[in-house]
């Protein structure tokens, strides 16, 4: 008798748990009326494209055109293999048919047009801070890039990471939906740099370590981290002896423009792709990033 009660109680609890999981893990998309009225500017969007570094992942590997956005790069991570999707203007293989609000939801809420969660390998926790006008300009630009009709297969992830609804729970911890807010202590140049780094160029996604659940450890902002895609470490870029305190702002600007360190070694591996984006920015914006990097808290390499 009490055995049967126990079973009923267990089933009841499990069901309640499943329902609770289903409710809290549900995607939270924005509706179209949340968008500002804005006349999108594709030319500005081109600039946003390089500032947000889209091509770094979405440009098809083994070719040189940053606007060949057929995807196909494979990110081999501890969670499994992510396959980077096609974001060209192709209506079938790419995102050419997407509406503005669908695109904003992908970028700022990590939700697909079909209402599914994207995995945070797509840095929407950064892009949630973007001005929606910038996102709409980017959409207008992406509508103009050449269509590529290559279909990309799904990810190969291990359990439990292959349960997409799990991302919904992760988002409760890591996606607050708040807009960018500049630190009033910073001057205007560094505030612009903060917007570029924190909302667009997503430097922190690699240069900041992650906690056990894969969220960024904001107490260790830009202090260097394990390489998410293999060996070695992503360097500390705070103004600390373990970081880049010896680099002048001019050194940072020059590195982001040309890919050369102050010792004239090249920035290699994935940073080479980042430089192919930052080299497209204006000198003022590279100076803004440098001013911001000089203003963040100096942190040691403690691991």
């Amino acid at each position: 008798m009490s055995g049967r009660l126990l079973v009923i109680a267990f089933v009841g609890l499990a069901t309640a748990g499943a329902v609770a999981f289903w409710l809290v893990s549900a995607p939270q998309p924005l509706t179209a009326d949340a968008l500002p009225s804005h006349e999108p500017d594709a030319e500005r969007g081109r600039y946003v494209f390089f500032a947000t570094g889209c091509a770094g992942c979405h440009a098809t590997p083994d070719q040189d055109d940053p606007l060949h956005l057929g995807g196909g790069r494979e990110l081999d991570t501890p969670f499994g293999v992510f396959r980077v999707p096609n974001v060209s203007s192709d209506p079938e293989a790419g995102i050419g048919e997407w509406s503005d609000v669908e695109f904003v939801n992908a970028m700022m809420r990590g939700v697909s047009p079909r209402g599914r969660h994207y995995y945070p390998a797509f840095p929407y926790t950064t892009y949630q801070r973007m001005a929606p006008e910038d996102v709409l300009d980017l959409k207008a630009f992406l509508d103009t890039v050449p269509a590529v009709d290559t279909g990309i297969g799904g990810h190969d992830l291990a359990f439990p990471f292959n349960v997409r609804r799990g991302v919904g729970v992760w988002k409760l911890l890591n996606l607050d939906g708040q807009p960018f807010e500049a630190d009033p202590e910073l001057d205007e140049t560094a505030q612009r740099g903060a917007y570029l780094v924190e909302a667009m160029s997503h430097c922190g996604e690699c240069h900041t370590p992650r906690d056990m659940l894969g969220g960024l450890d904001h107490d260790r902002w830009l202090a260097g981290a394990a390489n998410p895609a293999g060996e070695g470490r992503i360097p500390n870029i705070t103004p600390h002896a373990d970081g880049i305190v010896d680099w002048s702002e001019r050194d940072i600007v020059y590195a982001l423009e040309t890919g050369f360190t102050p010792e004239f070694d090249t920035l290699g591996s994935s940073m080479a792709r980042v430089v192919s984006n930052t080299s497209e920015l204006t000198d003022e914006d590279r100076q803004a990033i440098a001013a911001y990097l000089k203003a963040v808290s100096p942190l040691s390499d403690a691991r």
């Binding site: 470490r233 050369f260 010792e263 430089v275």
Partner: protein
């Protein structure tokens, strides 16, 4: 004026000696010496391109010559089995040797173009250096391990 040129010359001499001694028995050390040589030459060229030091045509020429001869030598120094030990060379080099050598060849050509152009002023030197630099990055992006 001559300081930069002398600096490059000194590096070339040092490397010449080191390479002769180690090329037969330690290709890893030999190619690293050559790469450091490229780096030193790039420092001379890059500091002029950045406007940190004054442009000097003879120093520019020697820097490009150093890069050119070093990369020709380095192309011979990646035999099979030298992907482990004290090296940042990735195993992908030996899986894609044709592509690796094509990238090295592109750097050789870029440095040769900078030699042949005999730039006499900073404005003509700058794009040549940028082209050389891009070819450094192109190969390091795919074939060099990040630093620990």
């Amino acid at each position: 004026m001559w300081k930069a040129a002398i600096a490059v010359g000194a590096v070339v001499l040092a490397v010449g000696a080191a390479t002769a001694a180690t090329v037969a028995d330690d290709p890893i050390e030999a190619r690293q010496t050559l790469m450091k040589n490229v780096g030193s030459a790039m420092q001379v060229a890059g500091n002029m391109a950045r406007g940190e030091t004054e442009f000097e045509p003879r120093a520019a020429h020697m820097a490009m010559r150093t890069i050119n001869s070093s990369i020709i030598g380095a192309m011979e120094l990646f035999p099979e089995g030298t992907d482990s030990g004290d090296t940042r060379a990735l195993p992908e080099i030996w899986d894609n040797m044709d592509d690796f050598l094509a990238k090295a060849e592109a750097l050789r050509e870029a440095s040769q173009a900078a030699i042949d152009a005999e730039p006499q002023d900073l404005d003509s030197f700058r794009p040549l250096v940028a082209d050389v630099g891009n070819n450094c990055s192109a190969c390091h992006e795919d074939y060099r391990r990040p630093e620990d």
